[in-house]
Symmetry: C2
């Protein structure tokens, strides 16, 4: 134990998860570590859920995290009915269901905004930060675990801190983090990153000792699932994307080794990263959010020299692989707070190529990343806005249809808009690529319909587009613009009967 908790004065703060959970009161705002199912606290939320179920008090909290977290946190607390308000991103089914039945108030924020909003006092006071760590040093510094997320800002701004020291994570993670905290305006300085490999901060988080109210031991692993094997559609989208990048190099618009890559999560993202392993690109770099298994492949193949992100989100197999070669990987991976991994300043400076997945896209290039049929939250916008707006080239991928073809992912008008026509440059489906740079709305519509739409919807969309007799900048019939979605909700398909 003293190996993981080196500050002697902290040893008497060790308590059971249940004891720590008893510090949490109804109405509190609890801010935790965790970014994608990596580095989130597990024991205390589980104990809290258990306590709530046992006591039946109906205790509810506001839960702030880095991004999505594992079932031990979002799942347990959602099922216990303990979440009143949730931000900024989630992917857990029970949590999502409660958001969609109106039980949880969900605030869907750009990931780069969260630390600032807390720092500026816009989200009220944070009562307790619960932080997963791999160790606490002699000086009392916290060594975070597999992610950074908003942890530094949460620790700084919370009134009290609970630390879960997780002995399951290898101690050797120490040194991977690069923790830089911007000051508040008007005293803020440039973030001095000029290359993805730059280290600009500390490897630990400082905390006022009297804020630390509990230390809990844990050895529960992050619950990261392996990706299913790559399906044909994803492979085709990945091929189209890599073909597009190759062409940009040929045209002299991108250097041979591209520019730093950002990639969303999900099966397409996975296929793209897989495709890069087989491509002839080399000396690549990654400036993204999530370091997943496929990044290890890219490092192993010698394609990627440096990968910067906010979380190390590895499947159990990936983690084993990581541990077996930890020194090599440590020299090529940097974990940063999400306000730095997702910083508009750094993304625009580095010229990041952003690659994210859309739920649906409209013919004018607006993208819906969040709300199915405009009303049901899927996950949230995550970092897709931070990257898309500031990217050198912003790319969205989506299969041309969803739900076995009954939905066209390309619609007349998105039912919810997360990325506007001003931000979206390239649309890629398994059908092809639409390059929207420098096009007017009507030219965009032609490019998207011709290149990206599935054959079973092409004529319908052409008809919608051509029928607009009203000459305007953007052609819409407002009584029909959302009729595809409405028809789906009424009949179960967007197709004409």
């Amino acid at each position: 134990m003293t190996e993981r908790i080196q500050k002697k004065e902290y040893l008497n703060k060790i308590m059971t998860a249940m004891e720590a959970a008893s510090l949490i009161k109804d109405g509190m705002t609890i801010a935790t570590s965790g970014f994608t199912p990596a580095g989130y606290p597990k024991e205390v939320p589980k104990a809290l859920a258990e306590r709530i179920k046992r006591e039946g008090t109906g205790l509810k909290i506001n839960l702030f995290t880095g991004a999505s977290v594992g079932d031990e946190l979002d799942g347990e607390l959602a099922r216990a009915g303990a979440i009143k308000r949730r931000l900024p991103y989630q992917t857990q089914k029970d949590c999502r269901d409660k958001i969609n039945c109106g039980e949880i108030d969900y605030i869907d924020m750009h990931l780069s905004h969260v630390s600032d909003f807390v720092r500026y006092g816009f989200l009220g006071k944070v009562d307790i930060a619960i932080i997963e760590a791999i160790a606490i040093t002699e000086e009392g510094y916290i060594i975070p675990s597999t992610s950074l997320g908003n942890t530094p800002a949460f620790v700084e701004n919370a009134e009290a801190v609970i630390i879960e020291v997780n002995t399951r994570h290898p101690k050797e993670l120490q040194g991977m983090h690069d923790i830089y905290q911007p000051l508040k305006p008007p005293n803020r300085k440039p973030i001095p990153i000029i290359s993805p490999k730059d280290r600009i901060g500390d490897t630990f988080i400082k905390v006022k000792p009297d804020k630390v109210k509990a230390i809990v031991l844990s050895d529960i692993p992050d619950s990261v699932k392996s990706f299913p094997s790559i399906d044909e559609t994803s492979q085709q989208m990945a091929d189209n994307l890599i073909g597009f990048l190759e062409n940009e190099v040929k045209k002299g618009r991108l250097p041979e080794n591209l520019l730093p890559l950002q990639s969303g999560v999900g099966s397409v993202a996975n296929a793209v990263l897989g495709g890069l392993v087989k491509s002839k690109f080399c000396n690549l770099s990654i400036y993204s959010e999530v370091i997943q298994d496929s990044v290890l492949d890219l490092i192993d193949s010698g394609k990627v020299n440096i990968a910067s992100g906010s979380s190390l989100t590895l499947s159990p197999k990936g983690m084993e692989r990581f541990c077996n070669n930890i020194k090599e990987y440590k020299s090529k991976i940097i974990l940063r707070p999400q306000e730095i991994s997702n910083s508009p300043e750094v993304i625009r400076r580095l010229g990041v190529i952003s690659m994210n997945t859309a739920i649906e896209v409209d013919i004018y290039g607006n993208v819906n990343s969040t709300n199915i049929m405009g009303t049901k939250m899927m996950n949230g916008i995550g970092g897709s806005g931070d990257f898309t707006r500031n990217a050198f080239i912003s790319i969205f991928t989506t299969p041309s249809t969803a739900k076995a073809g009954s939905i066209s992912s390309i619609v007349p008008l998105v039912s919810h808009c997360d990325h506007t026509e001003h931000d979206v440059q390239i649309i890629i489906t398994e059908q092809g690529v639409a390059d929207l740079r420098g096009l007017s709305p009507k030219e965009k519509a032609k490019a998207i319909i011709d290149n990206c739409v599935h054959s079973s919807y092409k004529d319908m969309l052409r008809e919608y587009f051509n029928k607009q007799m009203n000459k305007c900048h953007i052609s819409h019939r407002l009584d029909e613009a959302l009729s595809w979605h409405y028809k789906f909700l009424q009949t179960g398909t967007m197709k004409n009967s």
Copy 2:
């Protein structure tokens, strides 16, 4: 003449506007200086329009500018049918009409993106840059006139350059500009501005002498109109806005002297700046786009120490006032390229307070800044996205109704989305203020309906919102979401008959 054109070798490049206009061929991309009706070329476009009318050749160009420009450029060329493609912003009636009848392809871009898109080759090659200057130095450096816009990047990337030396502008403008050009990734460095007053570049633009194909003399003034007097609605919105800022100071979320202010253009913006003159705030700074007459008032009243923008857009009266006290104003005003005035990096670092006007807002906090009824372009997004997304606090103002009350500016769903729910924090109408920070969509809807909607639409919006029986994250009936707009188009009013 040699006072304004000091480089001797350039004297033999002086020619008439008509001679210079003859360099322009069908299909060319012409990129000009100009940002709001300030600092745009006037003689050459007028001559070009005349030539086209005379020759009847149907010559058409792609026209890129900084932002909106005066009638001599957008108006003359639009009326001559000479514009095929236009970006990134315009406000001229004839140009707008041709966009809305489908004759001009308009690309509505974030102002901060334009220089990069040109530099990266995303918009094809720029054939000729036409730049208004106040002088050319002995070294051949261009001293720009009343705006900077994209001028440095256009000069750098164009194949040829035409300079209009405008003797109407006072020579003393020299020294006001601060010209900094970012390198292309991967070599880009931090933009070293840490305060609105920081000067980081040159006061002139360098150009390869052999690129300069023509120099034309001009003495046409910028066509800036004075603002009409402030109406009651604008005054009430301004009062609400200043009240909001005062409360933020009281709550400790803003310093006493606020943070750098950005303000859109238009009558509300004008009323707000006027309101600040009368307020008790002092030691203010401005980090914005347009320095308009009211900024002179703020400087004169000692309220503002420094104003940074991309253009000096003064009415004839304002310009007279400026000239009478040029030394004082020059020490307090800096003109920057629009990629710097609108830089996400600098805006987020400085913590700018953004204040822009919306065409319409929906109950979930999405904002339409551009397209009336989702189809007819008004002006364009301009810099509103650059500021809103990166602001310390992002504010939108709009009168609660338009067209004599027949339109509610607050609707169930915006008919076009320029700023998403993720970006918009504060909505202000003459009715009141809705603070959306940290609220879920349904809470936002309540805040907006309760505080901002006009009494004649309040019950209707409440009914729309409450009727949604489907429990979702966001409540919409997709068959009704755009029905308010549709009804207006059919009946001329959004009100129930």
